[in-house]
């Protein structure tokens, strides 16, 4: 065991003193370090035939690597990229990915295996002790460095000339502000954009599947339909941004099953339209269980009761899904009677 060069702290073990000192004082100490055991030879160290076998094994591995690399190039040029092969137990897989991966893997692995086998069997395995030196500097060096520092600081006059010091600190503090200011154009200010969606009064509810406006008769009890506002097309430049707020989930309930009065008022003959965007962190929530009227979020399992104002009944969401007030226009199509009354999606500081 080591002897400890620093004076032990008040709470250092009693044993440590005893042990460290004893190892030196009492060689008959049964726990004392017996020192490095003598080196034992490997078969390869004493039997040249065994060493030759090892050499051949290493050379074989290196040669195999060469073959595999040739195989890699051959696979690259000859295997058609869309070819599918069946490999048990992997299934139907890409012939190219499999052949390239296996040959590359073998080529690399064999180099490694060869090198390690070489090191393990043929290079010297004599263990050598190497002394450690303390990381901290000696007292003389420490004293010298500290003295140098003091002298340097004194010569700079920084402590004496306060005006220089203060203005310099001021300049250094201010200069990074330029960098911060430059970040301003990373994006526009939020304004009220999170409060508005593409929905407004008179916008028809367009079926996501067919791109046709929905009629009340299309939506039957127990069905699930997704809708977007009229005029928003997939090819539109801002489709992603708008659909991220406007996506709608439409279900029809028996009016007598609707427990929440406002939900019933905002529905049309039991057809209710809720934001598809979870109020937790914005996943498109739509795991609708038609018998329980619960909608579950697949990301974090917030569960909303669509028959009760989309109230949260489980999980991490903090408030109900916003409902879109809907009605029917003169031509008999479902339309929005306005935008959502509250911001859709995740809550934010200014939401209120």
């Amino acid at each position: 065991m080591s002897t400890h060069e620093e004076t032990p702290e008040e709470h250092l073990p009693s044993e440590q003193r005893e042990h460290g000192a004893e190892a030196v004082k009492r060689p008959e100490n049964p726990f004392a370090d017996p020192g490095l055991p003598p080196h034992e030879h490997r078969v390869q160290d004493i039997d040249e035939a065994a060493a030759k076998r090892s050499e051949r094994a290493v050379a074989f591995l290196f040669a195999l690597s060469m073959v595999a690399t040739v195989g890699f190039i051959a696979a690259y040029v000859s295997v058609p990229q869309d070819k599918s092969i069946y490999v048990w137990p992997l299934g139907h897989i890409s012939a190219m990915n499999f052949s390239l991966g296996m040959t590359l893997g073998i080529a690399l692995f064999c180099i490694g295996a060869g090198a390690v086998h070489w090191a393990r069997t043929l290079m010297s395995d004599v263990e050598i002790p190497d002394d450690r030196h303390e990381i901290g500097a000696s007292p003389e060096v420490t004293a010298k460095v500290k003295a140098d520092w003091v002298q340097g600081a004194k010569e700079s006059g920084l402590g004496r000339r306060k005006l220089i010091r203060n203005t310099m600190l001021g300049a250094l503090t201010l200069v990074p502000l330029s960098g911060v200011v430059l970040l301003r154009d990373l994006g526009p200010l939020p304004g009220t954009s999170l409060r508005h969606t593409a929905w407004k009064k008179g916008k028809l509810l367009v079926n996501m599947n067919t791109n046709e406006p929905l009629r009340p008769s299309d939506v039957v009890v127990g069905s699930l339909t997704f809708a977007k506002p009229e005029g928003l097309e997939e090819h539109d430049h801002d489709f992603q941004k708008e659909i991220a707020k406007a996506a709608l989930m439409i279900v029809r309930l028996q009016p007598e099953n609707i427990k929440d009065k406002r939900e019933l008022d905002w529905s049309h003959e039991g057809i209710v339209a809720y934001s598809k965007i979870c109020t937790h962190v914005g996943c498109p929530i739509s795991l609708y269980e038609q018998q329980t009227h619960h909608a579950l979020c697949p990301c974090h399992q917030s569960t909303f009761d669509l028959a009760d104002g989309a109230r949260v009944i489980f999980g991490p969401a903090g408030h109900a899904l916003p409902q879109l007030r809907i009605g029917v226009n003169d031509e008999g199509y479902l339309e929005a009677l306005g935008d959502f009354a509250e911001p859709v999606g995740p809550a934010f500081w200014e939401r209120g």
């Binding site: 080591s2 009693s14 190219m96 939020p190 962190v281």
Partner: protein, 550 residues
């Protein structure tokens, strides 16, 4: 090998015997400009101890190199743009779909660049192995106490690498702009929005406006391929430099002391072993990429904010944060026209706390022990029962949260209720680490007792002997000195003094709160019952001589 430290041959001086080989002349030339011989003197025959657990860090290093190599290849084909294009590539079930250029180019890499899929898969598998390796490497360092002086700073470097690795992974996972990663980015947006006061602004600056905007892929790209890897490369260099500078720790054993390091030299043994290990790691990951799909974006589809799939999870290293967010109750406070989204904010704060708690541990332990010495001999985990217990408690917390992060898949595959699992995780978050701590500590103490018995009474030989008076006993073989040394080489601290020290006038000084806490913690670590006193020489001699009389 002995390095010639005498005067180097001058270019004009020439060598007296024979002509130097080309390589040697080149080395001389280089040394004259870069001083490589002085560097080689200390390092060429640097000694490294041999133990499999010391190679975990190498797995990490090599997978990092693999990630960089494959990552550079991927940048040759990847387009970090969110412009919408229509897919016309060779994967039939995606033809005609609108997608961002980022997704389109990832599809192109996967199906229309020969070997592109393989490189993508190597890149992603290596990233998983990189982080898993860091986790295991960090735990190895933790449980063996290798973080103690003088290695605390290097522990911090490693810990930072783990955290930066997590975010590099997350930004990389988001680049293909597929439905799965897009859902993850959406989550990130929601989490940023939950930040009080500035959340909305941060989100608008990050995404260049409203989510998803058209900027985040390009921005994540520069963060993923330049900013974070650049910092990591610097930290990695510092980490490795310190490993060389401090010299490696080693296990206690005959001839191995705190003042030396026993092992084999860097040249040739470790050059071959470590160099070979790089190829082995690369080979294994290549084979994994040849046989197992990772992140099949063609099956996942392009991101659209109104679409989602069940089983939406991040890669494993982000899984514990996913667990935190899934099991948190939905608390939300509204006041004065503002919303405090505690349901998201609390997990957002616990997330760094979980990481910081392990990161600062070395400093807490150093404070409790007050030990200022260098430690180069590793602790066996059993000999530090409280530390080991805390480490296992931390891992347990991490694992419980991972289960929470995958609660939907555990529900479907174990036929359980997702609600029940969520409740299990909610309770487990508080209870499981405590139970794990107590159980682990008991096990450690049991193992310490067994070691003590082994030292004092020898090894159970399995031979049953019948004594003359008819009693059967099992013969215990006394241990060899090497084994005795190994089992008694560890140090045992005593609890910090609790009596208030007196000043020069004999007046008792009042203990500060910090000192009281430290004394209390120290008792928790080292008081009787929290560690088994190791056998003393006296005890050993009494018992062995007693045996003689028997």
């Amino acid at each position: 090998m002995s390095i010639d430290t005498t005067e180097k041959p001058e270019p004009s001086g020439g060598k007296s015997r024979g002509k130097a080989s080309g390589g040697e002349r080149f080395a001389d030339w280089t040394d004259g400009r870069l001083g490589i011989y002085s560097l080689a003197r200390a390092n060429m025959r640097k000694i490294f101890p041999d133990h499999w657990s010391f190679m975990l860090g190498e797995i990490v290093l090599y997978s990092f190199v693999i990630i960089i190599l494959t990552g550079v290849y991927l940048t040759l084909f990847f387009h970090p743009s969110m412009n919408e294009v229509e897919y016309t590539g060779s994967y039939v079930p995606m033809q005609g779909q609108l997608m961002s250029e980022a997704f389109n180019s990832t599809m192109h890499i996967s199906f229309d660049v020969r070997g592109g899929l393989l490189i993508r898969q190597i890149h992603h598998w290596a990233a998983l192995v990189f982080l898993a390796g860091m986790f295991v490497h960090m735990m190895r360092v933790f449980f063996t106490g290798a973080f103690r002086k003088p290695r605390e700073v290097n522990w911090l470097f490693g810990w930072l690498l783990f955290i930066l690795g997590m975010f590099t992974g997350f930004t990389g996972y988001s680049l293909p702009d597929d439905l799965l990663s897009g859902t993850g980015v959406r989550f990130m947006e929601g989490a940023i929005l939950a930040v009080p006061v500035v959340g909305t602004y941060l989100s608008f600056f990050l995404f260049g406006g409203e989510f998803p905007g058209g900027d985040f892929v390009a921005r994540f790209y520069s963060v993923h391929i330049l900013l974070l890897p650049g910092i990591m490369l610097g930290l990695l260099a510092a980490h490795l430099f310190l490993v060389f500078y401090h010299k490696h720790t080693q296990w206690a054993g005959p001839g191995r002391t705190n003042k030396n390091v026993v092992g084999m030299p860097f040249l040739p043994v470790y050059t071959a072993k470590a160099g070979g290990f790089f190829f082995l790691v690369f080979g294994v990951i290549s084979v994994v990429a040849a046989i197992a799909t990772i992140n099949p974006i063609w099956a996942i589809g392009p991101y659209r904010p109104d679409q989602v799939s069940t089983g939406a999870q991040p890669d494993w290293y982000m899984g514990f944060s996913e667990g935190l967010i899934r099991v948190m109750p939905g608390w939300e406070v509204n006041f004065w026209g503002h919303t405090l989204v505690l349901g998201v904010l609390i997990p957002l704060l616990i997330f760094p706390l979980v990481l910081v708690s392990i990161g600062v541990y070395p400093f807490i332990e150093a404070w409790i022990t007050g030990d200022k010495r260098e430690h180069h001999i590793l602790d066996r985990p059993r000999n530090a029962p409280t530390r080991t217990g805390l480490g296992v408690a931390w891992i347990t917390l991490y694992m419980v949260l991972l289960v929470g992060g995958g609660n939907d898949l555990f529900a479907t595959h174990l036929h359980l209720s997702i609600n029940a699992i969520t409740w299990f995780v909610r309770v487990g978050f508080f209870a499981a680490p405590v139970i794990a701590f107590l159980v682990t500590k008991r096990i450690c103490l049991g193992l310490q007792r067994r070691d003590r018995d082994k030292v004092l009474h020898g090894r159970e030989s399995g031979i049953i002997k019948r004594l003359p008076h008819g009693e059967f006993i099992e013969v215990h073989e006394p241990l060899a000195q090497e084994a005795l040394h190994k089992l008694t080489a560890h140090e045992q601290y005593e609890p910090a003094a609790i009596a208030p020290p007196t000043d020069d006038n004999g007046v008792a000084k009042k203990l500060t709160r910090g000192e009281k806490l430290r004394a209390k913690l120290s008792r928790g670590y080292y008081a009787e019952g929290n560690q088994i006193p190791k056998p003393t020489v006296q005890e050993y001699e009494e018992i062995t001589s007693g045996h003689g009389h028997h």
